[in-house]
Amino acid sequence: MYKIINKSVKRIDAYEKVTGKAKYGADLNLTHQLYAKTVYSKYPHAKILKIDTREAERLEGVVAVITAEDVPGNNIMFGKFPVLAKDEVKYIGDGVAAVAAESREIVEKAVRLIKVEYQKLAGVFNIKEAIDKNNGKVHSEIEDNLIEHSHHLLRSGDIEKGFKEADVILERTYQTQFVDQAYIEPEAIIVIPDPYKVGVEIHGSIQNPYSIRTNVATVLGLKINQVKVVQSTIGGSFGGKDESVMLMAARSAIIAMKTGRPVKMVLTREESFLESSKRHASKAKYKIGAKRDGTIVAVENNVYTQGGAYNNKAMFVNWRASIHAAGPYAIPNIKTDIYGVYTNTVYGGAYRGFSAPQIVFANESLIDELAEELNISPQEIRIKNCLKPGDELGTGQILLPGKIPAPLEKMINNVCKKTDFESKRKKYIKERESFNPIKKGIGLSCTFRGAGLGGEGIDSASATVTIDIDGSILIQSGLVEMGQGMRTAHAQIVAEVLGVSLDRITFCNTDTSVTLDCGPTVASRGTLAGGNAMLIAARKLLDRLHKRAAIMLDCNIIDLVSENNFIFNRLDKSRKLTFKEVVEECLKGQGLSLSAQGWYTPGPEKLSSETGRGNAYPTYSYGASVIELNVDTQTGKINVEKIVAGYEIGRAINPQIVKGQFYGGILQGLGYALIEEVRNKDGYLETKNYDDFLIPSSFDMPEMEVTIYESDDPVGPFRAKSVGELGIELMAPAVANALYNATGKRIRELPLNLERVLLGKTLRK
């Protein structure tokens, strides 16, 4: 029995948040700080003829103005992002200059005094224009607008033979929109010059401290150890506080080095929407072949993701997509190609799901369309084809029983049973003809998701655990807390291993000068990889403590147990010591170290670049959901009434936090399905703030029933695997399928807003 894990203990970072004491980036202030702001491009694509900064420089209180000329090192960062655009602007969010002044008011005035002369250029603004050879290039050196290394493929079986065997073949195209993570905290950065290192120290809302450190060092022409990055409390990120923060940090760092003063840059909501990454828009062509009885024999797909002007994620996003594009089904013949394209628009990056929301929308809509064509039920077609123990994935990886669980069949059946899916579905089809303009519908979707980074990169993670003389424990991870609850999960793991109460543990903000670089906090790997590192570090310490305690208690080390702040002999429980006594003896009596590093690395996953085949991920998580909704056929308004979802995640370190992740993911998924859309008109951003870019409010919350399925998946710490992203991806297809059930109308483009539901198209564009 576990004492601390698998329990809904209070978050260890809740107190400072409910009292308003937590310090987010914008809450940090330093004496003599400067306020910095970026001057953004006026056009989506133009040549820069001249930048005149003189008037701004003359304004009293302006301390520095920088342009591309002032970048001491490399102006181009990973993904082609320029710190400041030099000769050409490639999208509306490009920075052309940055200003720093004594106050916010002055800097706001100063940015308006920078005069830039442009020569407008034609541009490509969507996937279709980007692919079409005659429409011009975003980057002159790239002929076909194809993002470098963004083409990923999967080849399995013989696709032509597969389609020959099919009785039914369907071809469909699905499209999804750009959306913003829309975390409520806009990005904030403060850069402090460090005279000792002749470098800088950067604080702020930073999701990936190590990549910011490397990029800023390159921009400043410094060594990595001259840049230090410390994470502040982050007000949500979901993948987003990365590129925009990297740009802000780079610009502010240049000014800090130039002026010798701290520089603070906080984005307005408008700037955040303009300059931060989006979930890639996508266009997915699918072809699927099946036997009369519903057995799927072949899937071919061609997916384009829209990367925008610069991109440092398409190569990774698309790889994940390539593994999952045929869905959680055992299909013998698969041909998948995923491409990313440049456009003169806002750019795509990481947003919770990392390709899954797009891919799963397409694939799970398609499965329902196929079921309809074959006249079998959505439940039956999924049960027939879904991954089962022993099945082989398109990558050739086998779901070995005991190694990688495959519980989808049970999960699909459960959500259907709980909602009375089949009988309601049939009833609602009959009611389509009734006079009531409000129609009811029910829809199903399921998914699988590779846990962690898999073949995308090395999934290493670091942790440091230090026990002090009073028995208090400090833990540090190279991965960051963004609200997801990672710190609490890590603390629970350490407390469980050491047999101490949670109140002994405090967490340190991630600091690149202290904790080892272990890559970004992405891919729902905070618990999976980060938790494993904690586990390793804590076990090392437990071992040291027990070695000493065995001598102190004069017993065998294997008979020792740590529990409830005591270490005792399980054969004679009266023979015991307090945790603190053993700590004191180790540190003071013996001069031992009670600090340990945990380094977890599953090693590289190996895949063939020609076929995309290999063990893509160490394991997978699963999900299934049913949505019940009603739609007003006179206005097109969809009202989601109820969601019943099941998720298999190995084991929940903290069930309450896990559920919170799912509820939050579900609502974001509904926003994506129904209302959210970043609109670009010829490259100009139309959705500038929350009044244009709508996100779900409390009114949009349906009844939610989430079941967590636990399994004996051995990969993660205490069998816990990935949680964070899984919640979101089931929503859009389930809504689209329920809408079809209600109205007989199939909509293949998101979001399913009033116009699309009512007219089948949007009014603008």
Binding site: S8, K10, R11, D13, A14, Y15, E16, K17, V18, T19, G20, K21, A22, K23, Y24, A26, D27, E105, Q181, A182, Y183, I184, E185, P186, T233, I234, G235, G236, S237, F238, T268, R269, M482, G483, Q484, G485, Q656, I657, K659, G660, F662, Y663, G664, G665, I666, L667, Q668, N689, Y690, D691, I695, S697, S698, F699, M701, M704
Partner: protein
């Protein structure tokens, strides 16, 4: 220039009286954050949409980004910093938010708690619909609202029980 004109502002914040001289174009949000250091008041959109800047002004929850400082002359303001008791005891709403898992990134939390507080002052036994209505001006991107609603229900129950 009009923007730089200083005005006198008398306000009571978290039970303390202040007499301030501030630029007339400042928002209440800026006064609270910059002049009084109450950074529990958050800025998320500056257009009155997200509710992160919510404070209680004369008993009503308002978006402090939409109020010019001068409009707050003579007003009584409560921010999240004003909820703790004299010995640092937490308000039942703060306790409940921690217990039900209503806090993730925490950026919406101060505003969310203050809107809930106004609700419970006026309506000690709100229905789920009434809670949804009361916090509908406060966006939360993390939680999906469910555990927040549970927190308000839990706090309401405890407060009815004679807690506060």
């Amino acid at each position: 220039m009009a923007a730089n004109r200083k005005i006198e502002l008398n306000i009571k914040v978290n039970n303390k009286d202040y007499k301030l001289f501030i630029a007339s174009n400042k928002r209440l949000l800026d006064v609270l954050r910059d002049d009084l250091g109450l950074t529990g008041v958050k800025e998320g959109c500056a257009i009155g949409e997200c509710g992160a800047c919510t404070v209680i002004m004369n008993g009503k929850n308002v978006c402090s980004c939409m109020i010019l400082a001068g409009q707050a002359e003579g007003a009584e303001i409560i921010t999240i910093e004003g909820l703790e008791g004299p010995k640092g005891e937490l308000h039942p709403l703060q306790e409940a938010f921690m217990e039900t898992g209503a806090v993730q990134c925490g950026f919406c939390t101060p505003g969310m708690i203050l809107s809930s507080l106004v609700l419970l002052k006026n309506n000690p036994s709100p229905t789920e619909e009434e809670i949804k209505e009361a916090i509908s001006g406060n966006f939360c991107r993390c939680t999906g609202y469910k555990q927040i609603i549970e927190a308000v229900q839990l706090a309401a129950e405890r407060m009815r029980g004679g807690g506060m």
